[in-house]
Subunit: 260 residues, 2 copies
DNA sequence: GTATTGATCTCGTGC
DNA sequence: GCACGAGGTCAATAC
């Protein structure tokens, strides 16, 4: 089996194993007592402690403590790993450019080092994403509202691509913004940008909304809108609901996956 | 140091080690060939392949392939790990509630299993965050613009807390939104929400309070906005710049850390 | 390369 | 518990 593993190695022994593992393109895990420092997009220091260092052949480096889903320190894929023994410590440095950043892990003790050749088997089939929600709607447009007709997905606009563009039963243009989970006010802002961009593009002028300054698309919900906005999400927060009402947008409660 | 480590263990042997490690509250790493399935906020399946499984005493579980900073599958902290041998495979299941979700890892082969007791040493000192940017501005308000006077940070509003609230040289209220890096249109929307909320708030106060506020609260609707918005960030995208101009907001180029 | 947005985002903080 | 926003976010995609 292609796993090498050393228990309580000397620094020099650990160094050999690391260099071999880098050479082979192995996935490496190192248990040990170390300090960590990072400099790049920000800068950080982490005092001595026991941690797990994971080094990947694609250049990713992860320093994990006993808590949290997130590594306490890391280096993104595309970095270069190097190892050396300096000042009686095993030093692992991972660097990359653009942006320039460096992660340095200094081990006073290495307790356990393992390396394994790993290939393939990384394609995940995932269900329940925003894309699934879109598929669901395209297959059954009536879920949005009776008479809704999708015309285009990822339709380009000055404000970027809108999730779904279509028309309602009256033929009024509709912008649909999809979210796979409960949303806050930011999603309403996003929808508003698309609606506004489409209104400008279609040459639909809103009544009395061109004083520059703070005019930001407020409308009277009683007005017949030039372009409608519909937010499709399982639910919305109170503040988002307020903002939806302000803009005259609708919310449709829908999950990315059908109820089971 | 208490590191246990087994190479090419039988499933039963691996099971013992796992259960002991769970008992002791160890940080665990497992190299092996496995399939992974997840069901909860979404659902996913991953075919057989060699991976690294990390199990943390706080309940976090991470499945890593040879690529990427992100685990291909995971379970958040607060989950419960369990292990068993079923159908000739070593099965590790991690579950949590609220939301209900389950990660199942089935090993056909375990190549290497290590466990280490880990405590403390997880407080990181980080520099270059948004908070550093705020500190910088509070110490030298002139960086925003000459005459700017910060009055409050995290000032509450109907739209949430604004990063910095203050007044400019003319006494006009100013909302400052801070970003540690280059920003897109979303940040302008965020700033706009705060400015709008503050305008409404001040409008209500003026209407409800006959004395008006301080003398410097006067403004000319045609000329100056009631509330100014300033986005402080290293830089902004074109679309964000457009949007800033639309709203009449200003951009101040500033890094979280002084140039070196 | 930059820009934009989704994510099983995670994580902290405040209510 | 929910809501809101930051993050060295990461990662995919379009340009």
């Amino acid at each position: 089996m292609t796993v090498t593993s050393v228990h309580d190695p000397s620094h020099r022994e650990a160094l050999w194993e690391l260099e071999d593992a880098f050479e082979r393109g192995d996935l490496v895990s190192v248990f040990g007592t170390c300090t960590v420092s990072y400099e790049g997009r920000a800068a950080s220091d982490l005092g001595a402690g026991d941690r797990l260092l994971v080094l990947k052949p694609d250049g990713a480096a992860l320093v994990h403590t006993d808590e949290g889903r997130q590594p306490v320190n890391w280096q993104p894929p595309g970095s270069q790993h190097r190892a050396a023994v300096r000042d009686g410590r095993l030093r692992v440095v991972s660097t990359r450019s653009n942006p320039d950043e460096t992660l340095t892990v200094r081990f006073s003790d290495v307790h356990q080092l393992s390396a394994m050749a790993v290939t393939g088997g990384r394609d995940l089939t995932l269900h329940g994403s925003e894309e699934d929600l879109r598929t669901r709607i395209l297959e059954r447009p009536g879920l949005v509202e009776p008479g809704f007709e999708p015309r285009e997905t990822e339709r380009p606009s000055n404000a970027g691509p809108m999730d779904v563009f279509g028309v309602d039963a009256d033929g009024t243009p509709v912008v649909v913004e999809l979210k796979r989970r409960r949303v806050g006010p930011d999603a309403v802002g996003q929808l508003a940008r698309y609606v506004r961009a489409l209104e400008e593009e279609l040459g639909i002028e809103e009544a009395a909304d061109d004083n520059g300054g703070t005019g930001d698309g407020d409308r009277d919900p009683d007005d017949a809108p030039g372009v409608r906005g519909i937010l499709v999400a399982p639910s919305v927060t109170d503040r988002a609901a307020e903002r939806l009402a302000d803009r005259g947008f609708d919310h449709v409660a829908l999950d990315p996956t059908p109820a089971e």
